[in-house]
């Protein structure tokens, strides 16, 4: 599903946010992306979602070569991708319902179908009762869950999440992570950037650890649990 081969990312201004990253994530696999603040986690997710382009190296996502995909194909590429953003990226002049409906609206989905799927997604994140309110009236954790509902509403085959539990208490974090686990069990490829060592330990999935832009450790090969904690 994701294949990175000696990928570099240099931001304008010359900062090397990612250096020589190589890894492969299979279809249906679930993994955590961890590392210190500024390690490059968000940058890596941005590359996968084609918000940024790699500076060097080979990157293939969902069969598409990220270095070559033309601009006009971007929308269709992104439709098969669900992204939960660190800063939520909700629209504050639209209701929760309309926010979650956006990925379906852009594909011209039938309104009845939109209604059904938006409510199903909101139900999953426990916000069905809030569909008519505006996100500004929600707590940080609730906004995060709206973002999650929006990411999964179009049933993407790849789900990226940047600190999805950053604003949640332990109980809610567990629920949200279990939700991602549930998508994983339904065949969705899931990659989650997080600092939350407790969740990493609890779910016992593959861990990619970044440090200063380099892939310091990939638990894929070894028996990770004890060494990572």
């Amino acid at each position: 599903m994701i294949r990175f081969n000696h990928v570099f990312k240099r931001y304008e201004g010359g900062y090397d946010a990612l250096k020589n990253i190589s890894f492969e994530l299979n279809r249906g696999e679930m993994a955590f992306l961890t590392g210190h603040s500024g390690a490059g986690k968000s940058t890596l997710l941005r590359l996968i979602a084609l918000i940024e382009r790699p500076s060097r190296g080979e990157a293939v996502v969902n069969g598409q070569d990220l270095t070559k995909l033309p601009r006009r194909r971007l929308p269709h590429f992104r439709r098969d991708l669900g992204v939960v953003f660190q800063d939520y990226k909700l629209l504050y002049d639209r209701t929760v319902f309309d926010n979650v409906a956006l990925p379906l609206a852009v594909t011209g989905t039938d309104p009845v179908e939109i209604g059904k799927r938006v409510r199903a997604a909101l139900d999953k994140v426990g916000l069905l009762s809030k569909e008519r309110v505006y996100p500004i009236t929600l707590s940080g954790g609730e906004q995060q869950r709206v973002g999650i509902a929006r990411a999964v509403v179009s049933k993407p085959s790849l789900l990226l999440a940047d600190e999805p539990t950053g604003n949640l208490d332990a109980e809610l974090s567990d629920e949200i992570m279990d939700l991602f686990l549930d998508f994983h069990h339904h065949g969705v490829t899931v990659l989650i950037a997080t600092h939350d060592q407790r969740q990493i330990a609890r779910l016992n999935k593959r861990v990619l650890k970044l440090a200063h832009g380099e892939l310091e450790h990939d638990s894929h090969a070894d028996t990770p649990r004890s060494t990572l904690l």
Partner: protein, 301 residues
């Protein structure tokens, strides 16, 4: 096809909703576009009607045929009769030699001097009124009538007709140039309005791109906003022209009466569709020019 219709209906609905959410801005934009379009629209209507008016004037250009000295009054009458049957001639009046002399005596003040002459030195004159005020046709008519052996000189009294036509042609072109300039102004007004709308929706555009919205999807409501602004502006322009006409109709009637004609404004029916249509087209084009470039610049970060 059904999907296409649905997409456009949704975009139109979105554009209408945006217009409703900012009624004052919508109204002001429509007013500015209205004034901009009312000017060329009204002037065009004016020129068009003056032209119609000019064609309806009773006293137009005329051809004066000065007959030879030896042509008798009876002969002149016969010639007049013949010319009346020529195509494009409305009326021919005969001024006999005696009448001419009497006129001359009355107006010139040389009456006593003329009495000293033993014979009338003035020729008979046929005044030919054409059916239409067309300088070229008048010229041809004059040349043709001048060929008759009984005619000494055919004098074409055309100056003011020519002048009128020249003025109308000038006015018509000036209005066309003005219309071009003001049309460009509408493009700029709409373009700028839409540009600001795009910038104020930066976040929305970024997020829509992030969830897979195409440029076309994002652009569509902006295009309809531009189209609606132009449409409302065109309707406002028609309203302004209508008000102006109502205010001008009294004086116009008086002026027309002085020239012995009636003034009835026409062509309003064309403007009722023409102005909103022109506005809508300009609005669509203006937003199309502005929105494409700016959408490209807004990319998610």
């Amino acid at each position: 096809m059904k999907g296409w219709l649905k997409r456009h209906r949704e975009a139109l609905g979105e554009a209408l909703a945006r217009a409703r959410r900012a009624p004052l801005a919508t109204l002001l934009t429509a007013a500015v576009i209205g004034i901009t379009l009312a000017l060329p629209g009204g002037l065009f209507l004016g020129v068009d009607n003056v032209q119609r008016l000019a064609q309806g004037l009773e006293t137009g250009g005329q051809v004066s045929l000065f007959l030879k000295q030896d042509v008798s009054d009876a002969e002149a009458g016969k010639l007049a009769e013949k010319i009346r049957r020529v195509g494009g001639v409305k009326n021919v009046s005969v001024i006999t030699r005696a009448q001419a002399l009497a006129e001359f005596k009355k107006h010139s003040g040389f009456g006593e001097a003329l009495n000293l002459l033993d014979r009338n030195p003035l020729p008979a004159v046929l005044v030919v009124e054409p059916a239409r005020l067309d300088p070229e046709a008048l010229g041809r008519l004059s040349t043709e009538l001048g060929r008759d052996p009984r005619v000494e000189i055919a004098s074409l009294d055309l100056d003011w007709v020519r002048r009128l036509h020249a003025i109308l042609e000038f006015a018509r072109r000036a209005v066309a140039i003005l219309a071009g300039l003001l049309g460009a102004a509408v493009l700029i007004i709409v373009g700028n309005t839409v540009r600001l709308a795009v910038l104020s929706r930066r976040e929305e555009i970024e997020v829509t791109k992030l969830v897979g919205g195409t440029d076309a999807f994002i652009r569509r409501p902006f295009l309809y906003s531009g189209l609606l602004a132009g449409l409302f502006g065109g309707a406002a322009a028609f309203l302004f022209v209508g008000i102006a006409l109502a205010l001008l109709s009294g004086p116009a009637q008086e002026l027309a009466a002085l020239y012995g004609t009636r003034f009835q404004i026409s062509g309003l029916a064309g403007l009722v569709f023409g102005l909103p249509l022109a506005g809508a087209a300009l609005g669509w084009l203006g937003s199309r020019l502005a929105v494409g470039r700016h959408l490209r610049l807004i990319e998610p970060k």
